[in-house]
Symmetry: C2
Subunit: 340 residues, 2 copies
DNA sequence: CTGTTAGCGCCTTCAT
DNA sequence: ATGAAGGCGCTAACAG
């Protein structure tokens, strides 16, 4: 049934079978130039019969465009990643772009683009926070590669577009809720990762909420959280054994909130009666925790979609607005002390 | 500072600047053929200075290989997806392959390959369950494209390799645990999606566990679960209001277990005292539920890694073993009735 | 070890 | 509306 690997049909095979020139075949493929209906039909029949598929490499080479977008990630992990990718994929798909994925790997942020995503192998790049250093970003930019940053602002001076979420105001509201509604006074802050911008702004929101309410910024209440269950758990356990008094915890993100809940449970502290706990992100887990977690909803899928849309515009028109800041929304559940 | 878009440097520019021929440059790029150290150094300096990046399209065209693997998904969603992709990415990365991602979209399984992943735009394809119909798979196969199926077996007759997990025996053990250790007699089965092979084998495991223990297969205890929270919740609520008596639920997967837990909570039933609940998959959520969910751990990351490794071998050698069946492991927590 | 020369498969003016 | 011919940037024999 099977011949001897008849090495995939080319445009020439189609042309011959349809009795036309290759340029005509090319025209019915690209649909850029009018072709008589009759001829078009013949060509299409030939393509179908031969199971012809245009070879991307050849088109790319001739066109000097790849019709693919690269996504550079720091790592594939957590609840964060799926919605982000879903958002991106929906718009790249809609616009006929392919999606090439690559991770920085465990070595941390990279100083250069990975070769595969380098210039001309991709029409543009989506760069997620932590995947590239400032130098790495500058490198890509200097190559003339269209770039859009996600959850990370560009190195000073480079006008690279960026899309991220509102962290500070949302955190401020969240902490203010703890203070005003639940009368908490000693609120622990679990810090996020060192160079993470989200972490930075959340901390700013926390401080602002306290100071504007006349509460002291007690350094004893600040501990590492690193956006991870383990670190958060350790921090809270430590605080407890150090005898630090507190009646609430802003964990930095939902993962850290889970660690916090675990530490508190271990210590026999009741949540939210004795200690209120709040997170950030509103991951899929948040609603099913016990008690259900009060947190801030981060519109991650929307971030992905916006970033992709922006990159495509940048590729097509050469410009895109510098910053897209998506609003985040308070999600009140029960871990703050609100009734179910 | 910036010239007039000096249209990216090519291999010729590098050759000229290094004072060698383009073949020499090509050789230092591919490293297939020995080149004198001195010359190599000169060439590399030139490449660096020019910020030269080889154009993938040109290489692909000349080589007739793309060095990229396609991943065809039904949808990007859930806890399932991140570990799967992480597993795949780690091995494609290790072997120098790029990863092109595409989803079937909401229209359900497709009868043909998406053009971008079609022949010659990819060296091979990883196809996840539900992304392609049998015809779609056959189509890809007839094109001579190396294919590896994930969580789905090939259409009869086609020797397409596949990697999936052990469902039946694991479910059997899980249900047997309910029967023998916790003395449950009336165990609800929440069915999975209709054409899902995992769902099929899990149901077989459930039946086998009951029949080998002399328990009746009461049709009243079987209801739709669809691997989703909502459907599961509705099913359980319905069962309850119908007055069907049961003392345990095998939810089909962890998502459905969450829905089950919610329905039971709404009805004031205590878990696991009155009703034991078990899931399947051991998602990230499982351990933080209340009570912590007894389930079966599905080695999803490993599945991804194995599939990718198998595809690469298939691409390189033309063959790969037909079936990889990864073992799944019982994870006993508290929702079955075991002590914390 | 290095240079020369064909293509790889398709798009795109340029004529017709 | 269609055909002819050059070129996209690189690799891979083939000579030397």
């Amino acid at each position: 049934m099977r011949r001897k690997t008849p090495s995939a049909p080319t445009i020439h095979d189609v042309a011959k079978k349809a009795g036309v020139s290759i340029s005509t075949v090319s025209r019915v493929i690209t649909r850029n130039v009018p072709v008589s209906d009759e001829v078009a039909a013949r060509v299409e029949a030939a393509m179908k019969e031969l199971k012809y598929v245009p070879r991307a490499a050849a088109r790319n080479l001739a066109t000097r465009r790849t019709k693919t977008i690269g996504l550079l990630l720091s790592e594939i992990q957590g609840d964060f990643f799926a919605p982000l990718l879903a958002g991106i994929e929906s718009v790249t798909d809609e616009h006929g772009y392919d999606l090439l994925i690559s991770t920085a790997g465990r070595r941390g942020p990279h100083d250069e683009l990975p070769p595969s995503l380098g210039n001309h192998n991709t029409d543009g790049l989506l760069v997620f926070a932590g995947a590239l250093t400032g130098d790495g970003i500058a490198h890509g930019h200097s190559l003339g590669l269209p770039l859009v940053l996600i959850h990370q602002s560009p190195p000073a001076g480079l006008g690279i577009p960026c899309v991220t979420i509102e962290n500070k105001a949302a955190t401020h509201h969240l902490v203010a809720h703890l203070i005003e509604v639940h009368h908490r006074q000693r609120i622990v802050l679990l810090r996020g990762l060192p160079h993470n911008e989200d972490a930075y702004w959340r901390e700013m929101g926390y401080r602002e909420a306290l100071t504007t309410r006349g509460l002291p910024l007690d350094p004893a209440l600040v501990a590492p959280g690193d956006f991870s269950r383990q670190v958060a758990r350790k921090s809270i356990t430590q605080l407890l054994s150090d005898g630090v008094a507190f009646d609430a915890v802003f964990a930095g993100d939902d993962e850290a909130a889970i660690g916090t809940l675990a530490a508190l449970r271990d210590a026999g502290k009741r949540v939210p009666e004795e200690v209120a706990v709040v997170g950030f992100d509103d991951q899929r887990l948040a609603a099913v925790l016990t008690p259900p977690l009060t947190t801030v909803h981060a519109p991650t899928e929307e971030v992905g979609a916006r970033a992709a849309r922006k990159l495509i515009r940048l590729i097509r028109t050469g410009e895109a607005e510098a910053l897209t800041l998506l609003p985040s929304q308070l999600v009140i559940r029960q871990s703050c002390g609100c009734p179910g």
